[in-house]
Symmetry: C2
Subunit: 204 residues, 2 copies
């Protein structure tokens, strides 16, 4: 049976650990493709065009926005970041799954453009744990930490727009749950009903 | 977080192999409880009351039907078979999952009474394979086989009432998919949203 690939959207508040979970998932599942973002910022040392990002000009980016060529995009200070639609859709139609690790605002844009995606919200085990993790990073001022923490609380209320949640207490466990979600989505009647009935009818 | 157990309803046409899959699932997951049916037929040698079946009188069974104490029931020739509701619901409220292996008509009755259940349809790899399996059992006349096979085709069309399908080509694989479905259902936002938000709000 031909099955279209899944767009797996992993999202959640900063500090919940979505990056670690996604990295582990990709390590264990070489067949899942990660979506490469486009950006207008300059490449940093060691970054490769088409691998870390597609580095494009601001003019090109704005043109792509106009042509609705992004699944989602955002402006962060002076730079744009976005997920080019075509590359994702092409991979999905080849039957390969695509992973998108993205913040909550981005995920909500993707949901609007591609509701068939699987939307997964990564949660910290507790708010205390989330704060500790943000502090531990040590990259931010106290004010930034408070701000980020305040955001996290209001972000958690966005969970109702998601299909699944994963409480990231233990990375191994979280990755297992993520793999189970991906597997189970491939068994959904609502997703593949027509293919199944067609397959059996062809035999008659 | 307190999570209510899942009612896992495994169903599908005769010969698709649901019995083998359920047996393997239970072997690997001792914490899943199997639902014990009630019946009015006499115990066969070695059958234990409360283990294989609850053996009850016809009068009692009819009384339970009247009191709506069954999740589903059916009359097969002169005997009644049914799934007592109370035992199932009690186990679920303890947070334990309950497995129900059942035919399609029964599953549809359960869905009406307990729509929160997870409804899984086991499919054979092909209609040819299904026929071969029914023939191989060798317990039925040619007429029975034809009849059973005819039923299977119309039963497959009932798949749209189910949440998931599993193509039983390889038992190990099918059990993995079933386990993934069970795992992923425990990560569903729609199922546990209130519990999650409550948990985080309690911390504030």
């Amino acid at each position: 049976m031909n099955r279209e690939g899944l767009l797996i959207v992993v999202s959640g508040p900063s500090g919940a650990g979505k990056g670690t979970i996604c990295k582990e998932l990709l390590n264990k599942n070489k067949e899942i493709k990660i979506s490469v973002s486009a950006t207008t910022r300059n490449p940093r040392e060691g970054e490769v065009d088409g691998v870390n990002y597609f580095f494009i000009s601001k003019e090109k980016f704005e043109n792509m926005i106009e042509q609705e060529e992004f699944l989602e995009y955002a402006r962060v200070y002076d730079n744009f970041y976005g997920t080019p639609k075509k590359a994702v859709l092409d991979t999905l139609s080849e039957g390969r799954d695509v992973l998108l690790e993205i913040d909550i605002q981005g995920a909500m844009q993707v949901k609007e453009k591609y509701p068939k995606g699987v939307f997964i919200f990564i949660l910290p085990p507790s708010l205390k744990e989330l704060k500790d993790r943000i502090v531990k990073r040590g990259t931010e001022t106290e004010e930034d930490i408070s701000k980020r923490f305040g955001c996290a609380i209001s972000e958690i209320e966005k969970i109702e727009n998601y299909d699944y949640f994963i409480i990231n207490k233990d990375v191994e466990r979280a990755v297992y749950e993520l793999q189970s979600i991906i597997s189970s989505e491939k068994n959904k009647v609502a997703r593949y009903k027509e293919n199944i009935i067609k397959q059996f009818k062809e035999e008659l």
